[in-house]
């Protein structure tokens, strides 16, 4: 077999695999609908405003509700204790009355 045929077959296979992955993503998205719906229902029922992603500190547990004045954040150059806190600061803008 020619090298190019061999290579194009390889690339074709890899492309087929990646399109299978795209397909897998589409299918599991459709299948994940039930989980999403139940989670959204839980969120609505408990009136939650944040996801449970980082539980190491209070302000990383509720990033949307977090304050500038939470622990370890007081100093502008503060060395952050928690890994997620060092990468994530609360939004610095809050709407004021016009």
């Amino acid at each position: 077999m020619r090298n190019s045929t061999w290579f194009l077959t390889l690339i074709g296979t890899l492309l087929a695999i990646s399109s299978l992955l795209v397909l897998h993503a589409a299918i599991s998205r459709a299948g994940g609908g039930a989980r999403l719906a139940s989670n959204r229902e839980l969120l609505r029922r408990l009136k939650l405003s944040d996801l449970c992603l980082f539980t190491e500190a209070r302000y990383t547990r509720h990033p949307a509700m977090a304050d500038r004045h939470a622990a370890f954040q007081d100093h502008p150059m503060a060395l952050e204790h928690f890994p997620s806190g060092s990468l994530m600061s609360p939004p610095d803008f809050r709407r004021e009355a016009p």
Binding site: L21, L36, R44, L46, S49, L51, T55, M65, R94
Partner: protein, 378 residues
């Protein structure tokens, strides 16, 4: 036309055969390249999937949360504020939220306590998230003693464990009755942690927020769109941050590739000289070289992306879970709904194949402009 395609195929043939002739060098290049693509793709997939999950989930969040600030600090809000807010035109419902944190000294974990009057547990009972059950080794019907604000222990029976697939929202949650919540924390009557506001017309939300902060200068309204935006930028930022750090890796890889491409061995140089002398033109050799680059980068890209997908969505990004999720006592265990789209793939392609391609242009050209008579005078 046919001839042109055949020419490309012939040269591609030779490009692959010359790559295969230097297996060691090229396989190491391919491996490093695929690894870089893999890491970057994992990060992009992971953050994009989280972002999408957050966006979809938070649609169920309250339109507006109103918090009271005292001396710049978050303070329980009088429930009476809620009645006045409910009177604002456009507000369809206001409900007080009661939530707080419970620190467990034995495990060192922080749990979130939420009181809700919608489907509450029985008196002196709680619902717990599966993360809590896991870390405290609790099962349904077991009694658990929490330390109250006055130092007296309060015993609750676990009535229900929230399903495992809800960990992304409720891993560390303890749902409790309102009266139990107030008793446990000695929370003042007539106050709530904050107020959740539902607005009929979503377009009106900013206007209503402005009205609330005018009417109650000591409050802070937080819009749902702001929460969404926070999550959006958190993940973009986090992903971008890691990418910036990784750019050092990309850069060193590019230098590595440049070096590999520039340092033509004497044998390679001779080979190109031969090709030029037997009738290959500079353009043909350039094509040969760019095919060599393309073979490597396409293969590395496709392999890297596919493996990254498997890694993130089948193995939950186990390699750098901690770097992305942070560390804590209680890890929520959540599977992500896979997200992959042409846009992401395009971004990844640009980030990984672009620098490599550019790094190989000049070395390829240097190789291709070997004089054809060089082979004759050796």
């Amino acid at each position: 036309m046919n001839r042109r395609i055949e020419r490309h195929r012939n040269i591609l043939d030779f490009a692959i055969s010359s790559l295969l002739r230097r297996k060691g060098k090229n396989l190491s290049l391919l491996a490093v390249y695929a690894f870089i693509v893999f890491i970057i793709a994992s990060i992009v997939f992971f953050t994009q999937a989280l972002k999408r999950e957050a966006t979809l989930l938070l649609e169920g969040a309250p339109d507006l949360v109103v918090q009271r600030m005292v001396a710049g600090r978050h303070d329980p809000i009088p429930i009476t504020y809620g009645d006045k807010i409910a009177a604002i035109r456009g507000v369809s419902a206001v409900s007080p939220r009661l939530w707080g944190y419970y620190y467990d000294p034995f495990t060192g974990a922080n749990f979130t306590l939420v009181a809700s009057d919608d489907d509450p547990p029985a008196k002196e009972s709680i619902y717990i998230g599966s993360g809590v059950a896991r870390i405290m080794r609790l099962t349904t019907g077991v009694h658990w003693s929490l330390r109250g604000a006055k130092g007296t222990p309060a015993v609750f029976s676990v009535q229900k464990i929230l399903p495992g697939n809800s960990e992304l929202v409720a891993s560390d949650l303890i749902q409790i009755r309102e009266d139990d919540f107030r008793a446990l924390f000695d929370f003042p009557l007539g106050r709530a942690t904050d107020l959740a506001v539902v607005v009929g017309n979503k377009v009106e939300v900013p206007t209503i927020a402005a009205k609330i902060s005018r009417q109650f200068p000591d409050t802070r309204p937080i819009l749902k769109s702001e929460m969404l935006r926070t999550y959006d930028s958190v993940f973009d930022w986090r992903g971008g941050m890691v990418l910036v750090i990784l750019s050092v890796a990309v850069l060193s890889f590019v230098l590595f590739a440049w070096d590999k491409a520039t340092a033509l061995s004497a044998e390679e140089r001779k080979e190109i000289g031969i090709l030029k002398s037997i009738g290959w033109e500079t353009g043909d050799v350039l094509l040969l070289k760019s095919f060599e680059g393309m073979v490597i980068s396409l293969t590395a890209y496709l392999v890297g992306v596919s493996v990254a997908y498997l890694h993130v969505f089948f193995f939950s990004a186990s390699l750098f879970e901690h770097a992305l999720k942070g560390w804590s006592v209680l890890y929520p265990r959540f599977g992500l709904t896979p997200v992959i789209d042409p846009y992401q793939l395009c971004v990844l392609f640009f980030l990984t194949v672009g620098p490599y391609t550019v790094a190989t242009i000049v070395p390829s050209w240097l190789a291709a402009t070997v004089d054809p008579d060089a082979a004759m005078r050796s």
